[in-house]
Symmetry: C3
Subunit: 472 residues, 3 copies
């Protein structure tokens, strides 16, 4: 017998009936608000090309490292499910393997999101399994072929008010220029904006660094080892991003260390890095010095600064060599903010023009470091739980750890941070339910009035991300 696949209308709400009622009421006030997604990894070309999605395997498995890493852990060769440099020639077979292993995702955020997507977008009502794999594959294929299932139509129907992509400083941003025209024409009923992400041009430990900065400095006609030219090129690129509608600059640093170094010191470090063989200390110091420089640029050009630190990228060299980056083996490490960010905050922390949003994969810093920093510095905002901890229990822990220290006004709102376009509504809906669940508990415990809870859930879903990310 096939198991049904269902979505409980009260999912994620607290068990206590009175608290649940408050959560239902709060959720109802925000559930239909347009989605604001100020940080993510959807390709602009997805919307520009507006092609039909290929098949279930390409759509749900090939690129979703949250999902396929669990199959890898179960000992399934990723090439069999279509992951890797070339797509599988047997997508239906790959889908079968996935459905047979559906239970691996039980309890995970990915399992929760996929269930939401399968039910709401595809009308599926049976749980994936060996028996149901083909039926599901076919039903998905039929839906993908329908004209209202193109990326733009989905974008408009979710609906998304604002979506940021993540882009290379040397990207032409031509796709974004064309998307802007589609927004003006009404073909896309929301805004899509690029995000400036210069990691590859700052991290001199990476082999591609020299090639990257050579191209960057060349863009302003400077020599590769000219630090002033490097800064000028960064500023020029950011200006292009701003012109194309960017609202933020994102930094995937290994550690949120900052240093306040003068031009001479920075020039010397830069030359050592461009020389191709910097010491680890020189590479670190250069990255730390640049973090502070980027904060200064944000004050000048208004780009919100988001920091995503504390991940050991590509932990498995074998998997990296076979499948490339973002294939499920980036592993978090303990991360320190209080001392690390001090030089930057000494210089710019009291400047309201800077909006610095801090993300973490190390939950211990929420009550200890991030909330205390955001509870004092006008420039610091608390980013939503990210990646592995972008999940129901983790999000409730996050709220419990930050709200007592810094209230709700310092939260920059939910960030889906996803490559998986179809998962965007599922993720935002999850978060709205959890905000409702958390605030309902405070109401039930006599810590917050119902009207204040209504105020905050609306602000967290709508006004606060708009204000903090300067969406205008």
């Amino acid at each position: 017998m096939n198991e049904p696949l269902t979505l409980d209308p009260d999912r994620l709400f607290p068990a206590d009936p009175q608290t649940r009622e408050v959560a239902q009421e709060l959720y109802a006030t925000v559930k239909d608000l347009p989605i604001i997604s100020p940080h993510g990894h959807v390709s602009p070309d997805l919307l520009l090309d507006n092609a039909a999605f290929q098949d279930a395997t390409d759509l749900f498995l090939r690129y979703d490292h949250y999902v396929f890493r669990m199959l890898n852990a179960a000992g399934i060769d990723l090439e069999r499910i279509g992951v890797g440099k070339v797509p599988t020639t047997d997508p239906r077979g790959a889908w079968r393997i996935f459905c047979e292993n559906w239970h691996l995702l039980d309890g995970t955020a990915s399992g929760y999101w996929l269930t939401h997507e399968f039910v709401t977008l595809f009308g599926l009502d049976v749980m994936p399994s060996a028996e149901t794999a083909d039926e599901i594959y076919d039903r998905i294929a039929a839906r993908l072929a329908e004209p209202d299932f193109r990326p733009r139509e989905l974008f408009n129907s979710f609906p998304i008010a604002f979506m940021a992509t993540t882009d290379d400083p040397l990207d032409s941003l031509d796709s974004h220029a064309k998307l802007a025209e589609l927004t003006v024409s009404g073909a896309i009923k929301g805004r899509v904006a690029p995000t400036f992400r210069p990691d590859a041009y700052v991290n001199a430990r990476k082999p591609e660094f020299v090639e990257k900065v050579t191209a960057l400095t060349a863009s302003v006609g400077a020599a590769p080892d000219d630090f002033r030219g490097y800064l000028e090129a960064m500023r020029a690129s950011r200006a292009r991003f701003v012109e194309r509608g960017a609202v933020s600059a994102d930094f995937g640093v290994s550690h949120p260390r900052s240093l306040d170094l003068n031009d001479e010191e920075m020039s010397a470090l830069y030359r050592a890095c461009v020389g191709g063989d910097p010491s680890p200390e020189e590479a670190d110091a250069f990255e730390s010095g640049m973090l502070t420089r980027f904060a200064g640029m944000s004050i000048d050009d208004g780009l919100v600064m988001t920091v995503h630190p504390g991940v050991f990228r590509n932990h498995s060299t074998a998997a990296f060599d076979r499948f490339g980056p973002d294939t499920g083996h980036d592993i978090p490490v303990a991360t320190e903010f209080t001392r690390a960010l001090r030089p930057l905050l000494e210089k710019y922390g009291n400047d309201k023009r800077l909006h610095l949003v801090l993300f973490t994969l190390d939950e211990t810093v929420y009550s200890r470091e991030i909330a205390p920093l955001a509870g004092f510095y006008p420039a610091v905002y608390i980013g939503a739980p990210w990646w592995f901890i972008d999940a129901p229990d983790s999000i409730l822990r996050f709220h419990a750890a930050t709200s007592e220290v810094a209230g709700f006004s310092r939260l920059s709102g939910f960030i889906d941070d996803t490559r998986a376009f179809l998962s965007i509504p599922a993720r935002h809906d999850m978060n709205r339910r959890l905000d409702a669940a958390f605030l309902a508990r405070y109401v039930r415990e006599g810590r917050l009035s119902l009207s204040s809870a209504r105020h905050w859930i609306h602000r967290l879903t709508d006004e606060q991300p708009r204000e903090i990310f300067r969406l205008g």
Copy 2:
């Protein structure tokens, strides 16, 4: 329409009706017990002068960095709300700004305490807002003018059985001598005691260190660089504190590192420190060596040793320069106890005469380090959650992290640690409710009998702080 300001009689209790009933029953047994406050920052002169409080702004904003830091984060210049080296000339205007921004405190412990104070002490029934600011200001002013609203009358009505202040080793303690007379005469119906806090005389990284130890050693006629004289002066000062009723010595060290060094080693470090330019290692080693020395002095004179480590003080130099210390930008850091305290515990940890109460702002150490240490060493007690984590969810996490490892007998009881005199009943009431909520859950889960829960809530509120702080 103005929103009402209310206090739910069942606030902070668990939602489940059966568990809530147990919590109500447990809370009822302790809610009226006199307050024991063995660590705090109220000035003895407040009670000695017994002057009427000035106005709402001076009372609630000017000195409460838990509150005004949130306004600073919101971009409000602190001078506009009366913070700083000179008071504001427009306290009513400052109060208006605060009331307009009342929602910033939603969800925070400070918002919870202020609500308690506004309702119970001032009979307020409207929520602070732009519209209600003036009315509230005036109602507070009227109440402040009433004769039963003087500090001593409040002290007696809360009622407080014991309250410790925090004092400098060279303080004359004259205020405390006079307060003791007032206790004897019955004007104050509880005991007020000083606390020995020698940080400024131990931390050689601080610029004032040399001046401080010069004055200290002079108090016993010793040369500034005479380590024996320094120790003698410390002991003499502690003896004066004991004579004036002190029960504890408090250490706000940056890290709970201890070292067991002999006199020769300590003398050399001390001389390096007094020389005015110690290396960071020398300053650290001196502070670590003194921590162990102070434990030895506690064994001799009976002062309970409380340690409050792990804060990066005055994180923002700009704010420090404008507003001084304790102005909202002390930020916690990760803190290690197991290795750090070992030298001290090797020497004194098995000596029951030492009572060493460990506080932390790093919650990760509760189950990992502090509870295991307190579950073995007779000298070690578990301090209550402190500062940023002195809040409902944090306190429940604290209990969940420590009780399974070390039961309830090693808890030294609630500490309000506050400058905000009027918040003392609100804070203790909060903690009694949370103890009730936590113990009720264990009763409901079949982990504790109701009579044991009754036993423990009484001990945690009354006997245990009396015994551990040796209140006699």
Copy 3:
């Protein structure tokens, strides 16, 4: 009046009635399954000798450092309760002291387990206290004298399907050979297996290291400083363990650091260690290099590799000198896995033949490091909460921290890790209730179907430990 001692049939289940009902249903499906105990510290001779237990003091106090450390903290001299190198001459007096102090265990896991044991194994119905101590002592004595209360009869009645002990590489394993015969004959209705634990032969910081490795290398006729001989002896010992039914090798390293060093490098480090005065760096590097070597051996011989890191052993030298190791003062420290294990995982992490089960006392690593590692590497499994955190709230935190990141398939199942034979059913029952409570919450929150929850609680209790520990 004596207080009753009771066991709530719904203990540890969630308070919400609907969630509780689901928990009851899930628990009912696993509560009677035979116990699988793949890691513990019961002596094989207990079952081999099958002698009656001596008395309550010897049984419950003398060896249970979870319990007697709490009495030590309360200032009770451990010799008075029978701890130490010689047993007490007054076991009844010792028992009285324990019963007088019963409340010290309120809220702890040990108190919970002892209550379970007293009620289910001894039929006790009064709470231990000064008044009831003698009665309880006598009732326990009477029960201990009954023929069905011998170790083997208890083993069969619990019932235990598989139990691992922990053994020295040079142990003859004769006891295990005889136990295997008893299993074949049906006198023991389950399997008892040794576990290879070579810590003393790897940690060159320990004074006994040279003596240990001298004996080890001699077992294969090699010179003490011959690294190839050392490796050969390790392999030979593991082969003997495998032959005697061992399923795992356990590593109580201070830190989970690994290094991938070649034979020449390892030989040099080994010689430095055998030389008797290695630098701390050499001792560390040797231990780290051996961790990777042992992973390689596991791939060859199939022994599951379990790692128990992050404890500062014998924190109190005074207690160690009086009472020896395992006497309540091993204190956890923060532990890092992501970087530490990388060399080992680079070499073997993608090899399904390796089963590497990671344990921790530092809860912060569950969501940050261990679950992400186990969610990718086929070789990595998540060990159950251990020691201080093997307790109800901690176990629920563990599930909440890991399941969202890595689902349920990477959990190796409950481990009792105990010396206290009688506590084994209490511990496993506790864990089954908590698995039921956790899964029931997910069902109630619409995150898991009831049938999936049934699937997982059975797998976690039975199939998964059998598969991961290769019980055949």
